[in-house]
């Protein structure tokens, strides 16, 4: 079914009731007043405290593990090791390279070895200190170059290359022979820590015989269920997973959720008592997955008019200790390698390599942030060489309907990038601002960044979503999805879709927290899929329930179903709105007449596929597009950069809620400024030196610039509810290159790495003066 035009075709309306309007979220007040419950708020007195014993070595064999001292520590009830794992001691997501608890070897500083279970936090920490581990240290590889050396020690048995990926499109040699201008550079992007405000947490409660409930911070309740069941050796229906309100995640808790929940569950099941594991900030910042660092070598050719001819891209992903999401991350980078532009011939080679560091993982933008930083920097360099305006170069090559992506996917609709670019150019008064301006020691510059980001899980993995909807006897509705509320508000977007389809007041719909025992799998809250896929499942549920309600209403009002309209919590005849029935009454009639008052929704997007040899195929069902102009002011005496103003534009398909889009963009600007200018995770021999808010510097509210009104472009995606496409991830991707290109414009210096800290920019400026 084409869901983008259900308003006209199925609902018979020409105007939206709630979709497209800014509505205050249902959870806003509870959160503002501190009433919303997060995982740690559910922990009751008497709950066992779990702490993780971690490796202090970056790479070593475990010679001896002695827990006797810990067991003698007052308050300690148990110390669990790999031998206590009843099911599989293997928790790698894509590649089985990651032990749940390490017993033979450790691969990074922070690798989990044992769990101390105690009465209170102090005893648990004393217990952790009392565990004796003798290591046989091994040489460690900390960098891409070290780990790729011929004689480098293998971190995992399979070797140091976890996987490879590639694209072979067109004739690159011929393309470069037609190119008049070639730009070749190597880019390196660093770790980024999410620094979500709520540290990871899980509370597990054993229930009767061989059943456990776990409440936790996560992004994918069903992945948590699967991993917990594997660790216990249980079936899926023995594990109930509830996602509490989650205090920020940004991808991070997609990876940590199962790891943290499974640890709390193991303790609870072994001890037969509720058990909780709550990380502190240092654990989160030093030991949980970060944005994968990447090295991207980029060769790019264009003719003298700035038309792209060919590109050759070589990507090396630094996985750290485990591959984790690397296959998906690398593949996403590979198929987005040309940016939102058509490049007729392109070869991409990617590899993901192991090092003895904290491992990489999911993070907003998922590979596309690094890839677009490289592409967009390349284009501004190319424009400078050609003496062209960077906007003109982009407009000559930008993706349009009928053009083909890096993976040769034909785009037949929903391509709004050109409108985004033209929108921000006009709003920012681009050509005027491109005139260089210097006020005293401050130099201003403007830059543009563009982005595209495929919706849904990568590598053509099967994807679907589900939702459930109950019409209660009083006419209110209970909506449930396992798409998670992480601060972004996606479930509320679903509720608006339901409200629109049923004509139910938004206040009459209650969103229940995800619970795997009551819902089919809606798949993860990642890949910017929560709204596009999850929201369409919600639409499916609402359309099914609507049929039931219309049928009963038509019977009561003695008219045919086609003449029933529903809005404001009422069903009535279109030709005579005064004759109608309240949802309360209608609901009771459904129950009485035996017409189901509940519906499950389900949605599967059109199939995707790719050829593993060439990487070509249909990579994603749809793409969200974004363009951003940034203005910066550089203090040439200190090297400090202030982002003065941002002009954002995004093709969102259909804006379900403009206020929530603005929220995503404002947050992304802040996180993007952090990545571009400040955030600098420092490691020495595999040890994270700044796992705290004091020295891992993220932007404060004072560092947030003025943000112009978001230009919302709506090129609907025909298979999603009202045509909506996800916005959370695309929001950050274009911000970073917009800022770095603005610095390039202001100073003439184009950086191949971030963050561009004051000291770094100062040093380069000084060198360039000499």
């Amino acid at each position: 079914m084409e869901y983008d035009n259900i308003l006209e075709n199925l609902l018979g309306r020409s105007q939206f009731l709630v979709v497209g309007k800014s509505v205050v979220r249902a959870d806003a007040l509870d959160k503002a007043l501190g009433r919303a419950k997060f995982t740690a708020d559910y922990i009751q007195k008497g709950t066992i405290v779990v702490k993780v014993v971690r490796s202090t070595q970056p790479h070593a064999r475990i010679k001896r593990l002695d827990v006797d001292g810990a067991l003698r520590t007052p308050g300690v009830h148990a110390v669990l090791t790999a031998s206590d794992v009843p099911g599989l001691n293997q928790i790698g997501y894509a590649i089985p390279d990651q032990p749940f608890l390490n017993v033979e070897k450790v691969h990074y500083i922070g690798d989990p070895i044992a769990l101390v279970c105690a009465d209170d936090e102090w005893s648990a920490m004393e217990g952790v200190d009392a565990v004796v581990i003798d290591y046989d240290p091994l040489p460690a590889n900390f960098t891409i170059d070290e780990t790729l050396k011929k004689d480098a020690i293998h971190i995992h048995e399979s070797g140091n290359v976890a996987l490879t990926s590639r694209i072979r499109k067109g004739d690159v040699e011929k393309g470069f022979s037609e190119a008049e201008m070639v730009v070749e550079e190597t880019y390196e992007t660093p770790f980024q820590e999410h620094m979500y405000i709520e540290p990871d947490a899980a509370l597990a409660i054993p229930e009767g015989r061989e059943k456990v409930t776990v409440i936790g911070a996560m992004q994918s309740p069903f992945l948590v269920r699967e991993k917990v069941a594997h660790v216990l050796g249980w079936s899926l229906n023995q594990v109930r997973v509830i996602q509490a309100f989650t205090g920020g995640a940004f991808g991070g808790k997609d990876d940590t959720g199962p790891l943290v929940c499974a640890k709390a569950v193991l303790a609870a099941v072994k001890l037969g008592r509720p058990a909780a594991l709550v990380f502190d900030r240092e654990e989160v910042a030093a030991y949980t997955p970060k944005r994968f660092p990447a090295r991207i070598r980029y060769r790019f050719g264009a003719d003298s008019d700035g038309v792209f001819k060919a590109a050759e891209v070589d990507i090396t992903l630094d996985c750290g200790a485990y591959a984790n999401r690397a296959p998906f991350w690398l593949w996403r980078q590979t198929v987005h390698a040309a940016g939102p532009y058509e490049v007729p011939s392109i070869h991409v080679d990617g590899r993901a390599v192991y090092t003895n560091k904290v491992f990489g993982g999911s993070f907003r933008g998922f590979g596309d942030l690094a890839m677009h930083f490289a592409v967009e920097t390349q284009i501004d360099r190319l424009a400078a060489k050609l003496g062209m305006d960077p906007i003109d170069v982009r407009l000559k090559n930008v993706l349009k309907v009928g053009k083909r992506t890096t993976s040769d996917q034909l785009l037949d609709h929903s391509v709004g990038i050109e409108k985004c670019i033209r929108g921000v150019v006009e709003a920012s008064d681009w050509s005027h601002r491109r005139e260089s301006r210097r006020i005293g020691v401050k130099v201003r510059g403007v830059g543009i960044g563009c982005a595209h980001h495929g919706i849904s899980t990568s590598r053509g993995a099967p994807d679907w979503s589900a939702a459930s909807l109950i019409l209660n006897e009083d006419g209110t509705l209970t909506y449930r999805t396992t798409i998670c509320e992480l601060g972004q508000g996606t479930p509320f977007g679903h509720a608006k879709i339901v409200s629109e389809i049923l004509g139910a007041p938004i206040d009459s719909i209650r969103i229940e927290i995800p619970d795997t025992d009551t819902m089919p799998n809606a798949r993860p809250t990642h890949g910017s899929r929560g709204l596009t896929l999850g929201g369409t499942a919600a639409a499916d549920a609402a359309l099914k329930l609507r049929q039931h309600m219309v049928k009963v209403a038509a019977g009561l009002l003695e008219c045919d179903e086609g003449s029933i309209e529903m809005r404001d919590g009422r069903a009535y005849r279109k030709e005579d709105p005064s004759t109608g029935i309240e949802f309360k009454e209608l609901a009771q009639e459904l129950y009485v007449r035996g017409v189901s008052p509940a519906a499950y929704g389900f949605f599967v997007p059109p199939r995707r596929f790719f050829d593993p040899n060439t990487g070509l195929g249909v990579s994603y069902p749809a793409y969200t597009f974004a363009a951003t102009v940034a203005e910066v002011e550089v203090d040439v005496e200190t090297g400090q950069v202030e982002v003065v103003k941002i002009w954002p534009a995004m093709d969102v398909g259909k804006a379900i809620d403009p206020l929530m889009i603005e929220g995503q963009i404002q947050g992304a600007i802040s996180q993007g400024i952090g990545f571009a200018l400040m955030e600098d995770l420092r490691l020495e021999n595999g040890k994270v030196l700044n796992p705290n808010f004091t020295d891992y510097v993220v932007p404060s509210s004072l560092d947030t610039p003025e943000v112009a009104e978001t230009i919302i472009v709506e090129e609907p995606y025909k298979h999603s509810a009202f045509g909506a496409k996800g916005v959370g991830e695309p929001a950050i991707i274009s911000i970073v290159p917009a800022i770095t290109n603005a610095i390039y414009h202001a100073t003439g210096i184009s950086f191949n790495t971030v963050p561009i800290t004051a000291e770094r920019l100062y040093t380069v400026l000084k060198r360039s003066e000499q």
Partner: protein, 294 residues
């Protein structure tokens, strides 16, 4: 990380009682806002069996002018300093510097005495107080004594306080007509940031000549420091842009920034920035002094 180890909290209502507790209880430490101390306790950098909370001793919390002296009680919060009409009128440089410490929440708890006794090399209240010529009163059960603020700073995060001693007051002379001061700070972001380096300058003008000059830096040496060698270059000279430029450039060799590998900024950058910040501080102090001819 372990939770904060157990301690016994004492809450005296007078200074006398507090001094008694501090002298009698072994392993005791005073606590005011606790914004530095609690972190130190948690990280194990310091230990305390007894904490003596100064919060109820109201006599330590005041800002007043008294015979040509501004006097600030040591447990006055930074928020109170920022909002004080007296400080804003007569020593705005201190209010400006205080407003740049931490966040609103931190400034509501942190005290000026605590900021000084913590003796962080980069404490933001230190450079302005150094250039204002501040002295401090140290009390103990045996009586009280005074020392200059420079003397208080014994080393990185080390104040010259014996056990049982408490800093009770900070005081400095009301600045005369023709004077002006400025505080400059370079952080890693705009709000809620530690200083990579900070600087303060105080100038007293007599027509075009500089009658008195005091300059100080933070995070450029093991302790906040006055730069006497720079002050000499300013005192008595006819001030102009070139003179300011010369003195500022000289700071490059006068500061002694940390050479640690993982310092928050490199030694070289701090030296370079000491020149920039001092030029900005002197320029602003000079402008303010000229406006303040009364």
């Amino acid at each position: 990380m372990k939770p904060i180890p157990n301690f016994i909290l004492h809450r005296p209502e007078t200074l006398e009682e507090a001094l008694k507790l501090l002298s009698e209880l072994e392993g005791s430490r005073p606590i005011a806002g606790g914004t530095d101390l609690l972190i130190g306790l948690r990280e194990g950098d310091c230990k305390a069996k007894h904490l003596v909370d100064l919060g109820l001793a109201k006599e330590l919390r005041y800002i007043r002018e008294d015979e040509g002296m501004i006097r600030i009680g040591s447990t006055t919060t930074l928020a109170q300093v920022v909002e004080s009409r007296l400080i804003n009128a007569k020593a705005p440089v201190l209010s400006e510097a205080s407003s740049l410490v931490g966040s609103v929440q931190i400034r509501n708890l942190a005290t000026i005495g605590g900021n000084l006794c913590n003796a962080s090399p980069g404490a933001d209240t230190a450079p302005p107080l150094l250039v204002l010529g501040a002295e401090v009163t140290i009390a103990s059960r045996n009586g009280s004594k005074s020392m200059t603020l420079s003397e208080l700073f014994a080393g990185p995060n080390r104040a010259k306080l014996a056990s049982g001693e408490l800093l009770t007051e900070i005081y400095f002379p009301v600045t005369p007509a023709g004077s002006g001061a400025s505080f400059q700070k370079l952080g890693r972001r705009k709000g809620c940031t530690l200083s990579l380096i900070n600087a303060a300058a105080y100038l007293e003008m007599n027509g075009e000549a500089c009658r008195e000059a005091r300059v100080a830096f933070g995070a450029c040496a093991p302790t906040p420091m006055r730069v006497l060698d720079a002050e000499v270059l300013l005192r008595g000279v006819k001030l102009d842009i070139k003179a300011i430029e010369d003195v500022s450039s000289a700071c490059y060799g006068l500061v002694q920034p940390s050479t640690r590998a993982h310092a928050r900024a490199s030694e070289e950058y701090r030296r370079e920035m000491s020149c920039v910040l001092m030029r900005r501080a002197l320029t602003e102090a000079w402008q303010r002094a000229r406006r303040n001819m009364r």
